[in-house]
Symmetry: C2
Subunit: 155 residues, 2 copies
DNA sequence: CACAATTAAATTGCACGCAACTAAATAGCG
DNA sequence: CGCTATTTAGTTGCGTGCAATTTAATTGTG
């Protein structure tokens, strides 16, 4: 009744691999849709956070996005070069850098409003299904993060 | 009763973002677990395909993995440098390059057998749940690919 | 107050992932 | 058969992701 050990290597492929494939397929759709806005997918995620929260230090931005300064610093530099964002050393704490939208960056939000609808349509999922998938994925992420920390500590 | 348009930009974040986060969280767990084997996560995926199918041309490998030669060529070069794989021009069709396991590469499979169990444990999901998630993700990928092709053609 | 520990960004180095292009070989068509 | 179109890998260039290190500023402690 149980699965032969040798087959685990195939089964295994299907979990991680499906997720990986779905993530990249999403990237493909976003790439097409975001081309008009001149944004990459990760840049779009940064803009989403800024549109929602306004001004933020790099650290907070990273917490929202699960990214560190190694990724964000060059990305933000590109957004700044594109005129969408300004970066300013905080005067209160000179270690931190505040990221804020320029007028142009704030204005881009208007053109981005249609993106979610087009993405949702591309998935072919209804809202409930999306919600459930999201909940499951978030649970998965939490579990994986905990496990990674444990593995790292354990060895 | 319906969601305000402005909120779509937040809702949107949750679909693509959850997937992205889960995918990277997976990467984190794999990174820790695969360190012993000296493989990165994409390299592990390549090895999985080779363990299952034996010898393959780069093209077929790419079809299994959804990757093109732009990604595979340098990756395979690294696997070859690590002594896990050999690449040989096919004599039948000299455009194609056959990728085959070395003895060392084949032997690595033994040490990889425990990986899936550790990954499955890290997810905290049971087999049925994994299966269902996988099915959903595959459906999502198919829909997204179709939509990307359509978007591209339509514009 | 002085000084070690901590924190925030940035930088460096490496490995994808993908678009665009090149080079070489084969297939297919007139 | 000859020539173009297609196919297969490889290369280049760019943008992440992430580990590791560096620099500068701040916190906390004796």
């Amino acid at each position: 009744m149980s699965t032969p050990t040798a087959d685990w290597l195939r089964l295994d492929q299907q979990i991680c691999f499906s997720l990986n494939a779905a993530s990249r397929a999403f990237g493909g759709v976003y790439r097409v849709i975001l081309k008009d806005l001149g944004l990459t997918y990760p840049q779009y995620l940064v803009m989403l956070v800024l549109w929602e929260h306004g001004e933020l230090p790099v650290k907070k931005l990273g917490e929202h996005l699960r990214l560190d300064s190694g990724t964000l610093s060059p990305l933000l530099k590109r957004l700044e070069a594109a005129g969408l964002v300004r970066r300013e050393r905080s005067t209160r704490d000179e270690r931190s850098v505040q990221v804020r939208l320029t007028e142009e960056g704030a204005a881009l939000r208007g053109r981005a409003l249609e993106v979610p609808r087009r993405i949702a349509a591309a998935t072919g999922f209804d809202l409930d299904e999306i919600r459930e998938l999201r909940a499951r994925l978030d649970r998965l992420t939490t579990a994986l993060d905990a496990a990674a920390a444990e593995e790292e500590a354990g060895r």
